[in-house]
């Protein structure tokens, strides 16, 4: 059938089983918005306050559902406002399709009003991008973009559509939703070699990341840990990949990782790394990282193998497919000495836990835990609150921790929470700080006008806490530009946006406020006052090794 390019875009999105898009209209994308109006019963559009919020919302939706998130923006500033959102998705391997309008083909390259080379700008932060030259290529380009975004290591893809292509009429034939490219399995011989390495280990450790979540291989991973009698740790991106209370799970690794988890990995003789990269935040000084361990590294992205640390066995393949092949080769073992050591590390960790009375960050998160449903998605922004949340939140289900790991995007949280809430169809939670919240609070308007049930736990310490922590430890307490002291009344602010909220100073008040927040129909902000000198601990100093870990801070 004959349709306009704009109609083809919307029809193709519907055909690809996309049920919601996030975006913001503007001059060069007007035709698409006219089609969204026409098809509003089949495709929901969520208008945000800013294109960045729309990109983060599409990202949060994708993280929570595993589906491809879609964001739409106009040319020029609309497109450039997406950049931080696209980069956030790229660094965390989130499947995202961004559609931007642009000036007509004939005007491209002439610095027209609101013209920007967005394919050039997003080249390093997309898996691939397109500028559509002709309406005949439009539908297939969108299908290919979906396919690329979801295949192998997922990531964002951008499609720039000049206005004349949106107006032009072309043929459209509906097609089936695209499927990812065939999943690859690591080579049999590599799997056999890895199995014999694992079988001969005495102190195995399973370390997984976001790749395990996107591959849906949690069950296989748990079976591997069971067979090898290994403790389990994860990267920030792996959190919620297994239930937090799983008896083998020691928690997050890295600069602010759990003590027992980091130490156990450091002492292992075999690290089985699954869909995870050895980022500098995890390894610290690479030359001193787990020197006694052989690393078996399985990842769908071959370029991650041996990029930063040198594995003994590097297996390129889809995790689920590769683990399924590996499991039958793994011998059932038990390592009582190793388990004894792990139990000892757990005891050491328990002694370092912050059990002070009063409104401590850990107590705030523990209080939040008691209100979370099994299915509640919890998004965060970036900074101290993010690490406190990552360390202390309890998750039962996969894809419920929504956080910007690789890029560390302050301002991600509001969009991320809105998208995750819509994707899951449940009340979402945002844990944020006063610094980060200041970067994205305009999306309160989005949450309110779309009746999105959302609980915001704003941990307000009046400072940029994470930077302050570094200034305390490494910059002689020169608190350069980290004391906010902004006089913002966050509760009044929430009310001004049409939300509700309250301010609390004790754990009891917090508990009562959260009860009201979780019963509230709409968006509810709980401002929780935290001391400005609270630290995120433990801390591995940048470039340090596990032996340099700061567990407690003296004065």
């Amino acid at each position: 059938m004959k349709l306009s390019g704009a109609d083809i875009i919307v029809r193709t999105l519907i055909e690809q089983k996309c049920d919601v898009v996030f975006g913001y209209p503007g001059g060069q994308i007007l035709n698409v918005y006219d089609s969204l109006y026409k098809y509003q019963n089949e495709l929901r559009h969520v208008l945000t306050a800013h294109e960045q919020g729309a990109a983060h919302a599409a990202d949060g939706y994708a993280r929570a559902t595993g589906k491809v998130g879609v964001v739409i923006a106009t040319s020029g500033p609309g497109a450039t406002n997406l950049v931080t959102g696209i980069a956030t998705a790229y660094l965390d391997s989130v499947p995202l399709v961004a559609i931007t309008g642009n000036v007509p083909n004939a005007q491209l390259g002439s610095d027209s009003f609101q013209e920007i080379d967005i394919t050039g700008i997003t080249l390093p932060i997309t898996k691939h991008n397109y500028i559509v030259g002709d309406v005949s290529e439009l539908a297939d380009t969108i299908r290919e973009a979906f396919r690329l975004a979801m295949s192998d290591r997922p990531g964002p893809v951008l499609i720039d559509v000049p206005k004349d292509v949106q107006i032009a009429v072309g043929d459209y034939e509906p097609a089936e939703p695209v499927q990812p490219y065939e999943k690859i399995q690591a080579k049999d011989i590599r799997i056999e070699q890895a199995a014999s390495c694992i079988n001969s280990s005495e102190r195995p450790f399973v370390y997984f990341g976001g790749g395990l979540v996107s591959s849906g291989a949690a069950e296989e991973m748990l079976e591997l840990a069971e067979l090898t009698d290994a403790p389990i740790g994860c990267s920030l991106m792996g959190i919620s990949g297994v239930p937090t209370d799983h008896p083998r799970f020691l928690g997050m690794q890295g600069m602010h990782g759990h003590y027992a988890s980091s130490m156990a990995m450091h002492r292992a003789d075999c690290i089985i790394a699954l869909g995870v990269r050895f980022n500098d935040r995890v390894t610290g000084d690479r030359t001193k990282f787990a020197t006694g361990a052989k690393i078996v590294h399985i990842d769908v992205d071959g370029a991650e193998l041996a990029k930063t640390v040198t594995p003994a066995h590097a297996l390129r393949g889809d995790l689920k497919k590769t683990l399924t092949k590996l499991l039958p080769l793994i011998e059932k073992k038990s390592h009582p000495d190793w388990q004894k050591k792990v139990a000892e590390l757990r005891r050491e960790e328990a002694q370092t836990l912050d059990n002070r009375d009063g409104m401590t960050p850990r107590r705030a998160i523990m209080t939040l835990n008691s209100h979370l449903g099994e299915n509640t998605p919890v998004a965060t922004d970036v900074g101290q609150h993010q690490m406190w949340a990552a360390q202390n939140l309890n998750f039962k289900r996969c894809r419920r921790f929504i956080t910007s790991g690789g890029l560390g995007t302050m301002g991600f949280g509001m969009g991320g929470a809105i998208g995750a809430g819509i994707g899951v169809g449940e009340r979402a939670v945002l844990v944020t700080g006063d610094g980060s919240f200041g970067m994205c609070l305009n999306e309160l308007a989005t949450a309110v006008s779309n009746n999105i049930p959302l609980v915001i736990l704003l941990m307000n310490n009046g400072v940029l806490g994470m930077v302050r922590q570094w200034q305390t430890l490494f910059f002689d307490k020169h608190y350069s530009n980290t004391i906010l002291d902004r006089k913002t009344d966050f509760v009044a602010l929430a009310k001004a946006f049409g939300a509700d909220g309250e301010r609390v100073e004790t754990p009891e008040e917090l508990d009562a406020a959260l009860t009201r927040a979780f019963a509230f129909e709409g968006t509810y902000l709980v401002e929780c006052m935290i001391d400005k000198d609270e630290f995120v601990l433990p801390m591995l100093p940048p470039g340090g090794s596990m032996d340099d870990m700061i567990v407690k801070v003296g004065d």
Partner: protein, 168 residues
């Protein structure tokens, strides 16, 4: 241990493809010493030949990162033992009666052809492997080089096999 390696890359022959490849080299800090690009036997594909410098791990990382670009269809490492590698040099030197016979002798030895001749200058053209071209340029330094331009290497595997058999 660092060394040079030659890699041939078959890419889609589209607008902006070279930019996608070189942008990746730039942002990942690969040290590219030489790059040539041209159409192939099929109008659908272009062929990029690069010489890069780095360790074995750098080479693996470069190839792995190339494979992630959707525009890349095939990649092959071409070592000297399996491939014929050549480049074209145009060199302009001073036309001085005193050194003229020496220039002529050297040109003959290297198989360089005179392609332009004026009272002040001689332009010669030669093809050959990189070392040979380097050696000829080095020799010409004594006689006053005015200007040079070289294409960078092109490389093709010996025998009947092609890069396309390695398609992903």
């Amino acid at each position: 241990m660092n060394g040079n390696f030659t890699i041939a890359i078959l890419v889609e022959n589209n607008f902006g493809v070279l930019n996608r490849v070189t942008s990746m080299f730039r942002r990942r800090r690969f040290n590219i010493k030489c790059l040539t690009v041209s159409e192939t036997e099929s109008a659908e594909y272009s062929r990029i030949t690069i010489i890069a410098e780095g360790s074995k791990a750098d080479k693996k990382q470069l190839i792995d990162q190339l494979y992630k670009l959707p525009v890349v269809t095939a990649i092959k490492e071409l070592s000297d033992s399996v491939a014929v590698t050549s480049e074209l040099l145009l060199i302009k030197v001073k036309n001085d009666p005193e050194t003229r016979p020496l220039v002529r002798d050297a040109a003959e030895a290297f198989g360089a052809k005179t392609v332009d001749y004026t009272r002040e200058s001689v332009m010669m053209q030669m093809t050959g492997g990189t070392h040979r071209v380097d050696a000829f340029i080095d020799l010409m330094r004594d006689y006053g080089i005015i200007e040079i331009c070289r294409t960078g290497v092109v490389s093709l595997e010996r025998g009947s096999s092609t890069i396309r058999k390695e398609e992903m």
